[in-house]
Symmetry: C2
Subunit: 222 residues, 2 copies
Amino acid sequence: MALEDYERPSVTTDLVVFSVREGKLNALLIKRGVVPFKGGWALPGGFVNIDESIDEAAKRELQEETGVKDIFLEQLYTWGEVDRDPRGRVITVSYFALVKDNEVELKASTDAAEVKWFDVNKLPKLAFDHDKILKYAIQRLRWKFEYTTMAISLLPKKFSISQLKNLYEVVFEREFDKRNFYKKILSLDILDEKGMQENVAFRPAKLYSLKKGAESRVVAMV
Amino acid sequence: MALEDYERPSVTTDLVVFSVREGKLNALLIKRGVVPFKGGWALPGGFVNIDESIDEAAKRELQEETGVKDIFLEQLYTWGEVDRDPRGRVITVSYFALVKDNEVELKASTDAAEVKWFDVNKLPKLAFDHDKILKYAIQRLRWKFEYTTMAISLLPKKFSISQLKNLYEVVFEREFDKRNFYKKILSLDILDEKGMQENVAFRPAKLYSLKKGAESRVVAMV
DNA sequence: ACAAAAGTGTTGAGAGTACACCCATGC
DNA sequence: GCATGGGTGTACTCTCAACACTTTTGT
């Protein structure tokens, strides 16, 4: 059979954009400016254009909503229940992204009456099956933190071990032993020393950056 | 914007169906009976109907190609490059499946001139981006074997530890120490004893079955 | 000198790895 | 009794977890 013989579904991407703000894990949501679920909160996202790859569509959406590019973005899962969208048959490919709070510029648009960060522990009711997608994304985020060096992409180029430790404590919602954390991270041989903090009101910390080539290494981080 | 304002891509599923045959890990391929790549080998798969979920489409394809149902089937990844299919814009959601060799009945169809098992180390050139998909599936398969009890779904209801060990050796292409393997598996507390082998020409093995509730447990298996 | 955060070592428990011999059965 | 695969224990190493004090800096 030829392509034309099949009725085609619409395909969208939905993004779970995470950031750490004021010591909490936050996710980006938009207030829908259009039906269905007009006025309800939902994940940012939109249709995949016919001449762009799904990854490109996700990247474009991320930039439209946050102004951010060149940041960690990874496909999560594809949701294809027949009735997940009241407008008709819509398949969505979900992605998750990590952005640095201070590099983000939120902008409303026609689709999004409002764009806002929410503490993942204080989420509103979400449109479509977006609560399921968000739960899935949090699991994946934790997994990524546990087994990859991805967390470091959320920190400045030079960072201290304690900044990294804070990040892990926010994502896993528990404390890590300082000595064990230092020992573990330093034993992985993934960091280069990059001098010291300056102008701090207490003992300056050593700064590190991720070693070249360690970006995609799979290591047990914690 | 409304759904109608977007030109829609076609959506297919592609299946990587694994089985263990004669001590080797095999994948199921079809010889394409239609253009493009007519006469070339490809993964089984097909279009997602407008009134079925993607999971249902994958399940249906699996049954059409192998006659198998109720077996391990899991979504892998969604491939959405613009030019991945010469017929036009086709997005494919890949799945991987595990089937028991002896429960499979291969059938050719209009789309598939021939259906055949291939040793994953002796694969022919594949159509589309199917070699990438297959590589991805093998990675995932190994990960699943390492961290879940999924391997057991490939064995008969009652099985011996050495059958399980053989399976792991095939998938990881290396040997496991017999004593350590027995010790590790039995220490996980995921098996129930189910009597002994009968009518074997040597010392009969103890048989086990997977404990109720252990199907989805995440454990380090090896 | 004090406030604030940085940095550092040891010990015990449990898990992984390496390694070789006896056992039960059918023929 | 022999061929075939089943089943078992010990010692070493390494990793993980628990635990508290000293150091450096700015004010």
